[in-house]
Symmetry: D2
Subunit: 357 residues, 4 copies
């Protein structure tokens, strides 16, 4: 920690800061510059004590700033653990040489819909089936998901296709039941800082896919992941899903540089969600390719057999055919960055641009 005092700080004020640092277990070193006095804290103290101390020192009226030197997270940091975390889900590994493709509908709507989608995405090379049973919706006047019934239908689709399941959990009270059905728990963007839920998910022992909050910094995202790991669960998958900016043409702004940054700063695997990241079906494929080119470990995609009948998110859902096209176009990009797909996508004739519109 570095403490910068305001212009004109007195010797007594310098001493007060040094005393606070030393009582906390630091050694202090004072630099008197011409216009500012700066105090450095040397040593290692308990993280909780350090955070509190920074806030307390910042609250002194003669302190201009107290600057943290070390990152405010540890367990998820690549500095602390250099090798990338590999997460096993049945026979697949997330974070390794192979990309992981998760695909399925926004919401589970019916037995027929989830079975048709699961079979379709499996045929075109998906590794994991996504689908929402509990849905966080902005308005109460909208379809809120099938709930427990949705979990059962996901299970059935999983058994029919062999695909593992990822599904969202929104309430601490549901973590146990969702964990019985899901192979991976998903924490949504609106719950990235629902700290009770993060802890509960950490205790579940299941791999957790943690979506970045739509207005969360990368540092806050990694601290949220730290909440899960601190409960003894190291299997966290980070998911960049777009941030909120001034631009309204896209639903969100998919921050591909955050994928690069998260891979540098953390050892956790990172995937991208170009469906929510753009909100527009016609942008999903190029943004998926971009995410993989930048180094993402996989994708999570919304696919629906008939988007115009979807109960939610139709405008950003690929058709099954379009998902197949994505997989075909993904393969050479994956190869260009030395990655592989687990499942070779089935080959078929791509539509021309004219036919697609």
């Amino acid at each position: 920690m570095i403490v910068v005092l305001r212009y004109g700080a007195t010797d007594e004020e310098v001493q007060q800061v040094c005393k606070m640092l030393e009582e906390a277990g630091y050694k202090s070193a004072v630099w008197r510059g011409v216009e500012r006095t700066v105090i450095g804290a040397i040593g290692v103290i308990d993280e909780e004590l350090k955070t509190r101390l920074i806030e307390q020192i910042q609250s002194l009226p003669f302190v201009e700033n107290a600057i943290r030197i070390l990152k405010p997270y540890k367990l998820v940091s690549r500095e602390w653990k250099q090798e990338t975390t590999l997460i096993s889900v049945r026979d697949k590994i997330i974070g390794g040489e192979h990309l992981i493709i998760m695909a399925g509908p926004c919401s589970v709507e019916s037995r027929e819909q989830i079975l048709e989608t699961a079979k379709g995405v499996a045929q075109h090379g998906a590794d994991i089936l996504r689908g929402g049973a509990f849905k966080p919706r902005t308005s109460p006047h909208t379809f809120q998901g099938l709930g427990y019934e949705g979990l059962k239908l996901l299970k059935e689709a999983s058994e029919a296709t062999g695909l593992p399941i990822i599904t969202e959990v929104m309430d601490t009270r549901d973590v146990e039941i969702v964990s019985e059905y899901a192979d991976i728990l998903q924490i949504g963007t609106r719950n990235m800082q629902n700290f009770s839920l993060l802890r509960e998910a950490g205790q579940s022992g299941k791999p957790v896919l943690l979506k970045r909050g739509m207005s969360s910094t990368i540092e806050e995202w990694l601290q949220a992941a730290e909440y899960i790991c601190i409960e003894g669960n190291p299997n966290v998958i980070l998911c960049e899903r777009g941030i909120r900016t001034f631009e309204t043409y896209t639903r969100n702004t998919l921050d591909i540089s955050a994928i690069v940054a998260a891979k540098q700063l953390s050892h956790l695997p990172v995937v991208a969600d170009p469906s929510h990241g753009t909100g527009r079906r016609d942008m999903v494929i190029p943004m998926a390719l971009a995410a993989i080119a930048a180094g993402a470990d996989g994708l999570i995609l919304e696919v629906h057999p008939n988007p115009a009948k979807a109960l939610s998110d139709g405008a950003q859902s690929l058709t099954i055919q379009q998902f197949g096209e994505l997989m075909q176009r993904l393969e050479p990009i994956a190869a260009a960055v030395n990655r592989k797909l687990y499942n070779l996508p089935s080959k078929f004739e791509l539509l021309t641009a004219a036919e697609r519109h």
Copy 2:
């Protein structure tokens, strides 16, 4: 709803949209312009069906946009209910002629701290005591609040001063116990779209102060309030607490225009939180005055007897003396906008600017 088709849409495509509208219960009207065809939906249909229909129509590849004409909320809308909602908390009314001032520490830290603060703010004219027992903290390596013990200490401070209590609830499982202690439940900015929690708070029957999500639009904020009201609880207080922008000098950007907008769009009372809104003690007073001048119905403020010892948020906490100063400076502003304080602040000599620094 207005549907704009892409350039070159065919008659069949126009018919397909009309059919979807009519099956949902609308009449449709088609305008064929030179470069675009526009279809209007006339009539009133169920809100859930309408939201779904908009998404489905937007998912059609030949549709450029489906534009909602009516607001996506109703119960909280001033169009639906013109008179401002008045919320009674013991003998005070929120939303009426009198401003409501809520003050207290970020966190309840100890019996001594909460009692001293409660007495201090009561003496200077506060109406309601705030204090956190359950704390949402960005990092797991920080003080997380005293929990149930904190609730008991709040109760004791309330009894010693006669001030009602507002405190945050973060977990659906805690709503019942917090409701036993609190006069007002607070939903924090990170939980504004924790829909399970909103529903549970709605069912508690207690007044709920709903902080705006730090990256939520005004429309999303009102829809979150709608989640509480739809459970039969009309007593929602909106709280603007700053949004996340590119500016980093302040912790957040207090969006005072959102106070004006929320008062226009909704009948709910609106208060401001200049402590979190700025994150800087030396900006709290002028921003509090600005919020009241713009029409806020009250304030929620962080006050600590000794910010340099605070376990959280010291840098933005007023001292008790500064809170007294704020109340004195608030009085003429309140009068200038035809509002009153319940408690005449005790008069004392204000420090000069030079003494304050």
Copy 3:
């Protein structure tokens, strides 16, 4: 400057940084912490050299960060000059006890329009007449202002009312001619970092109102002001006019906390533009009151005799009657913060809220 090295930096790397600092004229001091080595630069060097050095050190692969301790501006800083700058425009002073109210149409449209507006705002207490002759418009397919003809009409309106003129200059080539007509040059938000224009305006010797860039930080705004001052022109008026955020209900988000911050950080006077800040006529009055309550030194407002005929910005223009209402409501707010109006607004019966809509 504080330099933080990456984990594992070698002695040679530490020495390389020390050498760079010392060659630039600093003394260096090294702190070896457990996980990071930190190097401090002590001394005073030329500002240009310092800025370059920070960038160069940051470009070293073994450097994590180079942190500037002192602000990157000086001439505009309150640390450098404590008393607020007072700017005289004819017989009025900007930055003193009296608030300055600038009002007039977005664009000068015709002789009749500017004369009617000028007389109207003068009658209701305005101090300065605003009006655009050169207009920065997002689309080329819009009214671009009357140009030189507009300047002449402004002059005529000024002579008819005695009000000084503020008007925008957009092109370095126009600074000379605009300076002949205007009492204050206005630099618009889109030109805040048009550095050639800033320098030219600095050389004009005229007072300059510098609008904050719609996505500029407070620090960048003050550096832009520094460009003007460095040309020997100390008469800069800062103007907060709203920033771009994710919220779309308002045209911009008027950042009232930036007014407070700019007054703390700089000795320059600061005014607010609630017309552009909100883009909505029905929000202008409350936001104007809020800005003054927060400490602004004045306002700049769009007023049009008939907004529904305006060639630009009608939706955010007050009518002359509404401007009169604003002035009446402003007076008690000004008094509450110990400020005065130069001109007592003419008293008339305010409309009730019901009549206004």
Copy 4:
């Protein structure tokens, strides 16, 4: 245009809007819904008149919204011209099958520096030499570029390598002289809405690379391009260079989805600037790959022979060796999206990740 009236609008108010529409040359059609009346404008009128009319109608107190149906730009729109614009610069074509790689230093600093860089990037496959002679710098206390001397050095480097030149112009008064030296004029992010400069660049007849304003929407960016085209200059290259968001880890947030959107909405070629887009050398390569995977027509990159000696932007400049690495890694990505490089990059042994740090 669609006009939505406020709840309770009277017949007279409906008629007033219809009259305004009809006087402007539209036919009007009225839909009376249960809660809102909506009026549609049918026909084609002059764009300037239309823009004015929308603003005027929006300024009526009984109007809730006036919604534009058609895009506010035309010349740059793909709807208006379907085939992608191809721009010839000497023997290269921008926007075709081949990617265009522009590389060079942020600033021209010396004869030696620009010659060394030009030769280095030419050897590794660059198509165009970039380099700044006039530099827009946030602070006046920084290196402002070599000016005319810089233009001459660029010319010399161009002649030595055969590479065409792109360089920034910041002042209307410099467009003529810069046009004598440059093959492509660059308009920087801070000048995207310097409309005088856009017009002047349009009149120069030179190809213009238009950087997106750091807080400009895609729609504003295309309208800025329209300013250039309307002067009779169709050769505009759009450049996405990162937008300003709340995230501070990167200097800007490179909005790769804007590349996709701009290619869909406009027929102009689009390139990416991952140097400014990230501000961090270690992120430039993956983001460059991502931009090409998403469909960009080329890249503009900062390269410096010795970033730790750079007079500006060292932290985001690639070394010449790193530029070579980028070109090698780019080739398979280009192939994966059916694009080619003009120059096969020279092959050399890439450093391992460990050696790079």
